[in-house]
């Protein structure tokens, strides 16, 4: 059985092997040891296509957007708008103006909480989250709850790390105004049944905020098919530059929402008596944006689509199965998060070795993993572990990476006895 899994993994893994060379950092070494990068759920590495898009922009087209009458500014504006169109296609948005550029997922969720939330939440209204949310899909809601008198609730999960849908349905009620759910759990890899959750939420008239930070890089995403009213993701987790993100919102919702930040570029007319605001998407993009970042982000989306998200999902899933089978041989290792549907996240603990020590020992072999609470302290508390070690895979990882991980874990076991 294990052999069959490994065999099929190897065959499917071969297909994406050629793209590894697109990532210059993967050719680096430390103390003679090759880089084994297994922390893509924290941030992904960047392909040449993204690095070159940003560099080309600064070398040939750099100017501010939406202002200059000169050719260079018009060209910069065109590239910026084109990046938005690329992200709209990537996410399945109906119109490019439904994509707001942000600094990342965190900012996207804060924008919804502060703009939509402050305008719509009343005392006693309920915000329903899940126990497996990242802090960035918890804290923004707590802040707006304090401001409006709304109440934050969390739907429980099962021991395997799946959302308890029955309990979720019970918690969903006439006071529920918004449901916040991660598409993929960063700490466990669980793929949540967002469509089902969205249908239930819409049934009671709630809007659905999807934290797509971990799904956008790894799964085909279609916001319409998901039933997402809002969907936030980060460029840096999907092969693009840091400091960039996209927030999708349905036109009717975004149109009705007040601006969040004020400034240049987001206005129609300004007088000291009254200001009217620009239409979407500019209403939510005050100030000079991260132009090069947006262009790099667009290049990343194109790069991923060029390979194909189905192929990437299949590759990463095969790698996850391969690694999951292999770590089972490490004495005293327990995988945390065994949902039926999982993205490429392998979270685990080891008897007698704290995750931080695992991280240090693996780093000695230039194997990079994350150790800690993964910005999900309520989830860690629910699972009864202070922290986990987490290896996460991306399209550029291969079996050799998984093998290096397992070898280093055996070494950790030997050292700690």
């Amino acid at each position: 059985m294990a052999t069959a899994t490994v065999g099929s993994a190897a065959r499917r893994l071969g297909g994406l092997e050629t793209h590894r060379g697109d990532f210059p950092i993967l050719a680096t070494r430390r103390n003679g040891k090759p880089l084994v990068y297994l922390d893509s759920a924290a941030t992904s590495q960047k392909p040449m296509a993204v690095l070159e898009a940003e560099r080309r922009f600064y070398e040939t087209t750099n100017a501010n957007i939406h202002r200059g009458v000169y050719h260079l500014s018009a060209e910069a504006t065109r590239l910026y708008d084109e990046a938005r169109e690329r992200l709209a296609r990537y996410l399945g948005a109906e119109h490019p103006h439904e994509v707001i550029f942000t600094r990342g997922t965190t900012e996207g969720i804060n924008l919804v909480a502060q703009s939509w939330g402050r305008a719509n939440l009343k005392p006693g209204d309920e915000i329903l989250l899940t126990e497996m949310e990242h802090h960035s899909n918890i804290v923004p809601w707590q802040l707006v709850a304090e401001q409006t008198g709304a109440v934050v609730k969390a739907a429980p999960i099962t021991d395997r790390g799946e959302l308890d849908l029955d309990a979720f349905t019970t918690l969903l009620g006439g006071r529920t105004r918004v449901v916040g759910i991660g598409h993929v759990s960063n700490a466990l890899g669980t793929i949540n049944p967002v469509r089902e959750v969205a249908d239930l939420a819409h049934g009671v008239g709630a809007v659905v905020m999807v934290d797509g930070a971990q799904s956008a890089p790894h799964l085909p995403v279609d916001v319409k098919a998901l039933g997402a009213d809002f969907f936030a993701c980060s460029s840096h987790k999907m092969l693009g530059p840091t400091g960039m993100g996209a927030l999708y919102g349905r036109t009717e919702l975004l149109d009705a929402m007040p601006p969040w930040m004020g400034g240049g570029d987001m206005i129609d007319q300004v007088t000291f008596d009254r200001t009217t605001f620009a239409p979407l998407p500019a209403k939510f993009e005050a100030g000079t944006p991260n132009i090069a970042g947006a262009i790099g982000f667009g290049a990343a989306a194109e790069y991923i689509q060029g390979i194909g998200r189905e192929a990437i999902t299949a590759h990463e899933h095969a790698l996850l199965e391969y690694a999951t089978a292999a770590v089972a041989d490490v004495p005293g290792l327990k995988v945390i998060g065994t949902a039926e549907h999982k993205a490429s996240v392998l979270s685990f603990v080891m008897d007698g070795i704290h995750p931080h020590d695992i991280g240090t020992i693996l780093d000695n072999d230039n194997v990079c993993i994350r150790a800690g609470h993964h910005c999900a302290q309520p989830l860690m508390r629910r699972l009864g572990v202070p922290a986990t070690a987490r290896a996460s895979f991306a399209l550029y990882n291969n079996e050799a990476d998984a093998d290096a991980l397992v070898k280093a874990l055996h070494r950790a076991r030997e050292l700690f006895g």
Partner: protein, 147 residues
């Protein structure tokens, strides 16, 4: 570069597995909770000083990595029987050791097993958390965090 065996010396592995003075203390004269919010390490330190200002007993409980747990265990052994000033002075020298500024580390006895930490800057906070917490307990501060 230090090897893993130099960082995780046997004494550290032993105190991690079997931490000494790992208990609560009902009649403590000082207590503080130490947290490292970035990694989630958390521990409580209890101290009992006698009327002459000598540390009569010291204990801890909590969760953390081997470095932080072993450091807490060895800290309790090192400061027991010392005066407040002696304990604080020892902390200074220990801190110098784990940050690579130590000059007279040969006089630190068992605590010298943490000399390897200096080569792992991200782990310095793990080694010093219990000491910061002990200091807070002496100074009657309830909580301390290392950022």
């Amino acid at each position: 570069m230090a090897t893993m065996n130099e960082l995780y010396q046997n004494v550290i592995l032993d105190h991690n597995r079997t931490p000494r003075n790992f208990r609560q203390m009902a009649d403590a004269t000082g207590h503080a909770e130490g947290r490292n919010p970035l990694c989630g390490d958390q521990l409580d330190v209890w101290i009992k000083e006698d009327s002459a200002g000598k540390i009569e007993d010291v204990s801890f409980e909590g969760s953390g990595c081997a470095i932080s747990k072993a450091s807490a265990s060895l800290m309790t052994q090192a400061v027991k029987g010392k005066t407040r000033d002696e304990a604080l002075a020892l902390f200074e020298r220990f801190h110098a050791l784990v940050t690579g500024r130590g000059k007279d580390q040969e006089k630190l006895g068992k605590l010298e097993v943490f000399s390897g930490v200096a080569e792992f800057p991200v782990r310095v906070k793990c080694a010093s958390l219990s000491w910061h917490t002990m200091k807070a307990a002496l100074e009657r501060k309830e909580a301390v965090t290392t950022e």
